[in-house]
Structures are given as C-alpha cells and as structure tokens.
Symmetry: C2
Subunit: 636 residues, 2 copies
C-alpha cells in the first residue's frame, strides 16, 4: 500500500502515512494530539483542521454539519473524515488540540489509621552449618514465623531470585517486605524500612497518582495527566465503540493506559527522588469501563443491555502481569465495581465518605460524563447511574470546553442591569477586576453558574425558555433564536462573543433532569422525604458552586450548609485503600451491600425525568432556596 508524507502545523511533526488513513489516524501515529470527543465517529465536530497543501478525499455531507460553507472554502475538514490521498500539509487550530487540562484531582487527604498491606520486618538469621542445612528460603521463613508470628508465608518468584545474595550481602541480617501477612515480596540486606506505594485514579479524562510513603502515610508526590485513551474517544461509550470497530482496539486502549501509567509513575517517583523499583504496591480506582480497559478486559458487553461487568470483585494481581514498570513483585489492588455503570471509582468515594457509618440521609453525586449517585445511610445504600451526557464537560454546548486555561468557570449576572461578570481559568480574580479579555469558552461549572443566574434573574423561565421580551443588549437573536451573551467579543480571545444558546439550556436541563430524577426515584425507594446532606464528588463536582447547583435543581432540596464538595473522593478512596488494608475489606463488603438500581427500567422514570427538567423542578418545593431566589421566580 502506498504511503504519503503528512506534515502537521504548527508542531511541524511529519511522517509517512498509509494512503486512505484519516487525518485523525495520522495525527495519532505522529503524536499530534487532535481533540476527538466522539472517538472518530463524526458526531462531535471538535477535530477540525485546515488543509494547507495537497489533496484529501472529497468533502462529505457529515462534515457539512460542522463546517460552514465559508470554512469549507478556506480548506477546513473534519480530521476523522478526510483521508490521505497524497502528500499533505495540515494546520491544526489551537481549538482542535487536546487542551492541557487544569488538573482538578485534589484529594482531601483525611487522617487515616496507618495499616498498610505491606510491612517490613528486620530479622537476624543464623548462618547455615553442617548441623543446620536448611535452605535459605526455609531459614528466612522460619525466622519470620518465630520472630513475628508469620506462619505459612509464600515467597514471590522475583524475591526468591534475590534471596541468597541478599542474605549474604546483609551478613544474614535482612529486611523482608511482607504483603498481607501472606507473601514475601522483597528481601533487602540490612535494616531498610522505607516502602512506597502509589494510589491511582484512572478517570475517563484525567488520571492522577498519589505517591505515598507507606511507613508514615504521607503523600510525597502527586502527579496527573490526561488519560491517553482520550485520543480514541472522549467518553466511555466512544471507547467501548473503538474496541468494537477496531480489531486491535482493546489492545491499543489497554496499552495506552498502561504506557501512560508507566510514564506517570516514573514522573512521580523522580519527583520524590525515588526509582520505580521502590513502588511495591499500587491501588487503583476507575469507572467500570476504565477498570476493564486497565485490566485489558473486553468492555463491549458493558455497552450491551443488561450491561454486566466481566469482573465485579476486587482483584489483586502482579504489576508485572499488567506490564507496569515498578518493583517486579509489586501488587496491584483494584477496588471492586458495584454494577455495570457504577464502578470502582464509586466504591472509592464510598470508602472515603463512609455514608454507611452515618445516620444522616446522604446523597453523593459524582458528576462526570456519566453521573453516579449513591443514597442512604447506615441502614441501607442504593446506587444508580444516569447518562447525563457530556454537557457538564462542555460538549454539546456551543462554546463549551473542558476546564482548561481560557474557560469561563464562574458567572454572576447583576439582578438590575443583567450585566455579567465572570472568572476565567488561569486569570487572577474576576473579569471586572482583572479586566482581561482572554476567554475562549465556558466549562461545566461556568455553564451551571450561567444557567442558574439566567433563571434567578428571570432571563429564562422555569421551563428554560428565554424571555425574548426582556430589554437587554445581552439577549440577542441568532437565526431568529435567542442567545445570552456571557462574554462580549472584546472580552474573548476567539474573535467573537461567547453566548449561552437555547439549545445549551436544553442540554443542561436534560443532564440535570437525569440526575434529579435519579435522586428522586432513589428517595422513593428508600421512603425518604428529604435529604440531610449532599456531597458533590469528582473532579468536576468539586468545582460546582453548591448554591448555583441547587438553584438549577441538580439535586433535591437540602439545607445549603449541608451541601459540600469533597474533591476527588475516588482518588481519596484509593489512597485510603493503599494506606489501610481494612479499607479494602470495607470496599469489598460495601460493594456487595449497595443495592444497584437500574433507573431506566423504573416505571416512573419518564415522568420523574420530565418533571425534573424544569428549573429547579416542576413540582417539588425548595424551602432552602427561599431568600436565595426571589419568591416570584420560585413561585412561577
């Protein structure tokens, strides 16, 4: 098959690519990070590039949906659609590059009792003699049994290989690292107490690692990165789809997260002046699809009703079997998943927040592309999953973008003038103070703010419709449809104004309606009238303004002071499991106890969903919004 030279600008990356490959495929081969929210399915329009020289396959109707006539004449194409037919020079606009995320994976770092799975034991042995010809291995095991009451120890194969030399180098004084009182993972000459582990949160978008000293529990380095699987599809469904439509798709996705983790671990240990070999244990959380892809298990059946996972239980396996470059005997502990779409990340949240130890009726919302809900207390816990769609991540929103520099993350609208103030990621303080004009788009928390503010100030009504008759220069018409200007042209770096459209409002209503309806059905099932506490978890959840979220009706009414954001609780759960082995048992037990509720088969789901689409809700009272939102708005 023929190959052609493909060159990308402005990076200058170039290489020989097989004829008929798409520009998107070429970009992956050459390491150019073109955004592809839909995974090359031609449905997101985020991968626009401009042909500067050469020829590509003809322009298609699908491309016409995202590329205007004038753009087409300039040479714009969707890189997932245009195929290589000769040598080409391609320009990738900044807006089509995967943005360096603002990493929002901070963990709370709660105090936790230190009880790691790995403990190092110092022992002094009697050397062999003709009267004591025991093998090195028996000698070591016997001493550990006698000195530390550790009978029936196994020894991992790589440790066995080091054993004889370590004993002699240490002059029969060694430190043995024992896992779960069960298996010897390492033998070190002399007295060496330091052992390290890393807790990993494999998010669909962002992956974070928390390197911990297992001797004192300290987090000594935090490292994060974009999940390298992102180039194969933005959300879990497009990644599942990629494994189905590409024969080597599963392997590619699996290898890409493993390679990514190896890189992340290397960076983290270098940060702490350690080597990968110092990592003796890893714990990991992730949603069910990330969990399956991390393990290399086929996720396709997760996408098919009734969505059973391949593996439900917690799993311990050797890092070497996964191809992770850490200590050759290192164990990987992956938290259990609850059900098809309620994953190990949710179990991480649970063991971090422990609703099962509380009397208060708690709702935990992990907002992401997929919304995960847990509700209950010490008596009972329910979990559910709702397809919120990617609106909260900035997709399907006209000026939506991820939480990257340039994204509007906070919005205030003045009740009298309807003038807008906003805060942009990367800037100090609000626009009214910074005076900067560098907004590029609007991210999830900004969208929630904006729509809540539009509602509170009567720009949109309870049903989400713009009140076209309002006298405001910010309420404009485009193709006869109303839009509200958040950032004026001169306040942006994209040469045009940033607006919220009627369609944007609709998409957010769909997303929040799904969450609210889910919570409502769970309350019904539990026979609960009101919530005592709402916890917003997840990378994105932590940045939501609780008040704005409640005005929007993201969740049922609750006392505002009891609505809180807890940061990356899934990652916190992984850290806790790393530092305290009892937390692993807790995870195992709770993952089995939580009742999973399949919302889509609940008879009331449609009705609840339709009612929950309204702002904040069609019928439900919001006593705690009294005084926050004017009565005439609330009583519409």
């Amino acid at each position: 098959m023929k190959k052609f030279e493909v060159t990308f600008q402005p990076s200058g990356k170039r290489g020989e690519i097989h004829e008929e490959k798409t520009i998107l495929e070429a970009s992956r081969e050459l390491g150019v990070q073109i955004e592809s929210l839909c995974g090359g399915e031609k449905t997101c329009g985020k991968c626009k590039v401009k042909l500067l020289e050469g020829e590509l396959s003809p322009f298609t109707d699908e491309e016409g949906k995202f590329i205007s006539e004038s753009e087409r004449l300039e040479g714009y194409r969707l890189s997932c659609s245009a195929r290589i037919r000769g040598n080409v020079l391609i320009f990738v606009p900044e807006g089509s590059l995967i943005q360096k995320h603002v990493v929002r994976k901070e963990i709370a770092g709660k105090q936790i009792e230190l009880k790691p799975a790995l403990i190092s034991y110092y022992i002094e042995l009697t050397p062999p003699s003709f009267h004591d010809l025991r093998s090195d291995c028996d000698r070591l095991k016997k001493a550990l049994s006698q000195d530390y009451h550790l009978p029936h120890l196994d020894i991992d194969y790589p440790a066995l290989l080091k054993l004889s030399r370590a004993l002699r180098e240490g002059n029969w004084k060694v430190t043995a690292v024992v896992w779960m009182d069960r298996e010897i993972l390492d033998i070190r000459p002399g007295h060496v107490k330091e052992i390290y582990g890393i807790a990993i949160d494999v998010g669909t978008t962002t992956v974070a690692g928390y390197l911990c000293n297992l001797g004192n529990g300290e987090v000594i380095a935090t490292q994060s990165m974009i999940n390298p699987q992102a180039t194969y599809g933005e959300d879990v469904m497009s990644r599942i789809n990629y494994t189905i439509t590409h024969p080597d798709g599963l392997q590619l996705l699996h290898r890409s997260i493993i390679d990514g983790l190896n890189h992340l671990i290397k960076t983290a240990v270098e940060d702490a002046r350690l080597s990968p070999d110092d990592i003796l244990e890893l714990t990991a959380v992730g949603n069910t699809v990330m969990h399956h892809l991390l393990l290399g298990m086929d996720p396709r059946y997760l996408g098919v009703s009734p969505f059973p996972p391949a593996l439900h239980q917690l799993i311990n396996l050797k890092a070497r079997d996964l191809g992770l470059r850490v200590h050759p005997s290192a164990n990987v502990f992956i938290l259990p998943v609850e059900a098809g779409f309620v994953g190990a990340d949710n179990v991480g949240v649970l063991i971090a927040e422990e609703p099962y130890n509380q009397d208060a009726m708690v709702l935990i919302i992990d907002v992401g592309t997929n919304g995960e809900l847990v509700m209950g207390n010490r008596n009972r816990l329910l979990s559910a999953s709702c397809a919120t769609g990617p609106a909260f991540e900035g997709a399907h929103i006209r000026f939506g973008m991820r939480a990257a520099p340039g994204a509007i993350e906070r919005v205030k609208i003045d009740a009298d003038t309807l003038e807008v103030d906003f805060k942009v990621i990367g800037d100090e303080g609000w626009k009214s103070n910074s005076g900067k004009g560098d907004a590029r788009g609007i991210c999830g928390s900004g969208i929630i703010d904006a729509i809540a503010e539009l509602y509170r100030n009567g720009v949109i009504d309870k049903s989400g419709r713009f009140k076209k008759e309002l006298p405001s220069s910010r309420l404009i018409l485009s193709d006869g449809k109303p839009e509200f200007v958040i950032a004026r042209k001169e306040e942006t770096s994209i040469g045009k104004e940033i607006t919220i459209t009627q369609q944007d409002v609709r998409n957010v209503q769909l997303a929040k309606g799904a969450l609210y309806a889910g919570a409502r059905l769970m309350m019904k099932k539990l026979g609960v009238e009101r919530l005592d506490k709402v916890i917003l978890a997840g990378a994105f959840g932590s940045y939501i303004d609780p008040e704005k979220a409640m005005i929007l009706g993201l969740f049922p009414d609750c006392e505002l002071k009891n609505v809180c954001a807890v940061g990356n609780a899934a990652g916190e759960g992984a850290r806790m499991a790393l530092l305290n082995r009892d937390k692993r048992l807790e995870a195992d037990e709770i993952s089995k106890k939580v009742d999973y509720m399949e919302l889509t088969i609940e008879p009331d789901f449609q009705k609840e969903f339709i009612e929950a689409m309204q702002l904040p809700h069609m019928k439900d009272p919001f006593p705690h919004l009294r005084g926050v939102v004017r009565d005439e708005i609330l009583n519409q």
Copy 2:
C-alpha cells in the same frame, strides 16, 4: 573494540567477533558446538581445534599439557585458551564437537492412578438479565461452586481476559479448567475435555520431556535433547563456576535452559499435533544445580561449604514468569530438593520407587557425574551425595567418551585367551559378529565392564595394579606404564588402539570407592548388615551390567537377582507427579523425612573410602560373587 571475521570449518559458520574473545566464546556466539567438559577452565583438553588461516594469541603452557609438540606444529590449539587477534579460519575436528547423545532417558511408565492437578468442568450458565446483574466472573464461580462443590476459586489473570468472550461464544455453555480445586486457568467455549501437560527431567547432560494427556494418563510424545548449558561446562561445578566468573553467567545459563525447553516443548507438541498453548501444566525434576539454574537462582552458594540450597521446598509458579512458551496460565510444579547435592531428581526417584512403602532394605544409586544414594525402608530413609567425578561419564579416562555412536558400551574378556569382544553403540550385536571396526572410544558402562573383566581374569589385582608379568599381546607398555588394549587399531575409526590405562583404573577406583564408602557409612548409620535390593537409576545407571558393577564393587554385596536398573526414575517421578497430585504431597513429605547425611564430615569416611577403593573391597565379603568370580581371585 575491533571485530574480526571468524569462520569455522567444516560447518562453514562465520561471523564478526570482538577482538580478544576466545575461540570457544566465538563458537558459542556462532552456534558451533565445541565440547567443553571443564567449561573453559583449560583443564579438560576436549576443545582442541586447528588454526588453518590467520593468527591467534600465543600458545600457552596450559595448552602444552594437552597438545603435543607435533600437534602444535600442525596448528592445534585449545579453543578456550586461544584468543582472536585477526580474521581466522578454524577447523573443528569431529572429536571436539559435542556429540549427539544416545538418549537414554526411557522411563518405566508404571501404572499410576490418574488424579491430575487439572480438571476440566463443563457448566451451563444462566445469561445475565436486569434481575441478575452478577458479573461474568461471579456467575462462573457460583456455578462451579454449586455444580461441582468448588467454593473459593481464584481466577488467573489471563483466564479472566478470555472469560467474557468465551461465555458468549459458547452461548453460556463452557468448560472451565481448574487447578488443584483452587484456581481457574482456562475457560473454553462449549464442551472441551482435552488437557495436556508435560513432565520434564532436566539432566546435567540430557533433558527429556514426556508429553501426557491428562485425561487418560498416556504419554503421547517423548522428546529429548542435550542440555544446551553443556557448552558452558560439562558438570555442575563448572557451570556454577561459569556463573561466578562471568557477570552475566547466571542469566546466560538460565536463558539457555529456558530456550532449550521452549524448543523441546515445541517439538514434542508438534509431534502430537498440538500447540504449545495446549500445555496447561509442567512438572520438573533436576539436581539441585539444574533446579537452581532452571529457576534462575544463583547456584554459587551450592558450591561453598556447607552447600545450602536457596530453596528446598516444592514450588509452583506460573510458566509465564519463567518465560516458558506454553499456555499463559500454565503452572510449573518443581519437585522439592532434599539437600545441597541431593536434588529434586532424587525426590523424583523416590516417589517412583517408593522405598518408604517397603520392608526390604533398599539402596538406590543414581549414578552420574554426581552420585546420589538413598538407603532405607518404611522405617527410615537416608540420603547422601558423593563426588564420584566424571569418570563414569567418560571424562578423565584416556579414551573415555559419552554414550554416543562409536562408544564401546559392553566388554567381555575371554578367561583363557584374554581376547576381547565388545559392543559399540550404533552397531548391531557384538564386534565378533558384526566384524565392524568403528569404535571411537569407551563410555561409562564399557569402562565398568572392562575393569570388572580385567579383575575377574586376573589382569589387574585387587588393588587395581596391572600384573605386568602376564603373557598377553594386549598388555602393552606405553612410556613404561602398562595398558590393556580393548580395541586394536584396525577395530577403531580413530587410527589408533583404544586402551585402558593404569590411570583409568585408578580414576574408576576413586569413583566407585566413593559410592561404596557412602553406602557402607549409610548401612552403619542404619545399623544394617546387608542389603535386600539395589536399584540402579539414572540415564547411565540403567545401562550398567549389574553383575559387572558388583564385581567392581560399586555397591556392597546383594543377591544378584535383586539388583536392577529402572531407567530414568527421576523422569518417571516427574511423570507421576504430573498425573497424580497426591504424588506431589508424597514428594513434599518424603523430602522432609529423608535424613541427609554429609559423608565428608563422617569420621570414618577416609578409612571406608580407602578400603572401598580395592576390588571389590579390601575386607567385605561378597558371598553372592561366589561362582561368578573364581575363588582365587576373590580370596586374594
């Protein structure tokens, strides 16, 4: 560093080799199999080659010990000594090539109750539904638990990766292969019962594999090969030495046996029209050094007093961790070792012969480069190891060679004429019948025959000295020292006669004396006056003529009909362990029960050894040789 072109004749193999490497090193790099009994230590003289063109490092005194002046002038060198200094053309005489062994690894193939560690279970599962959302893994485990009473099963990681697809391909009817009622190793769609395993005997010289159908216990292919470690040294001590003197020595030796096994397994499965992936279990035996090198464990401490092994116990590990190319979940079971020099091969012999289930007092001799002795019965078992030296393998014997085509393996001497008849490996029948003249040397069983016959016919006396005064044209003098001609010049293919020298007799006396003294000390320790049974085991032991061995005094007196050869009992033990898991427990128990006796520290060892050097012994009576050997000879 400079490289030069090295070409070997007659094979024509050539390549670029770094300056200052030895010819022996070059031969290994280029795959020319030059014999090196001492492992390049310049002490065996077996690696002679002839320089045809080019230049090498200067001739050394060490070479002078093995290369005569006339040979030197012809260009002969020791390949372990001569170093590359320019492009060279090297001729390798046939006598310096590693000979294709006559593989003597037949196993008895005793009947054994079939109880393999692996069992395949057929199960029919209920597919998932919204009312039964268990994971694929839980579903499978539950069914195995319910249908076959197999609770608490683990699943090996590669099996987990296949699980979801196998369940669906089989339409929820699958076969699970379970190891030791403990771990699921494979899931196959539908009803598939066939499982296979291979029992492996890693000998110092020869490696054999017995491919078995675990469903019916049949051996469906037998394959053997020279242990590829042989190019790094003939015996265990030279291999230990190689790991000490070469920084990458351990890795080289480990890789070479693993590569060799991969090749052997591939050949065996192809023989049986299977694929390596069909092998789900391996069992292995080997002496302690082979055991350590197979595992990649440093054997250097086995060579240092008090010779403790790194590992004593049986070990199960994943074939993938060893780099064996079989089924990715295959288990490798390696039999336990007893003590420093009494290895897993000896445990294999024990579980094959079961002296611990007998009343008779048994002596088992596994004769090889290292002699291993076990003595006892159901009451008690002793084991010991004697350094017999390599005389029985043909080394340190003027015309000694391994059991290869051209080796004299049987010798008879006529009592009246002192004329000799012999049998050559590769020929039909005895020389007197075949009339062929193709002897190249003499192997272990031939040496034992020859010396026993020389003694029985009065050519040598009890002390091993030649009776120079005997009138026989076969008794000649060379440098004033007597030699006995076994094959006349015209009966050989080497252009000279094959003789037994006084030194050869001495070396055999040393070897047999060590074995006899060991047996005597063991009898003392057990308080035993006589042996009921002697079993000759091992590749070489099986070919010894029991009568000749007793005439020589290889072991104490015993009724001749109770002296028997059992073939490769170590391999037989490996096969038994493969087919019957109870045999593994038996191996574990017996390896702990056998009392190891370190002969060299016994106060009487020297005295016993000196007495045992005589033929058959200085003092011990041999009532069962009456009538076999003339009284005047026996009563010397």
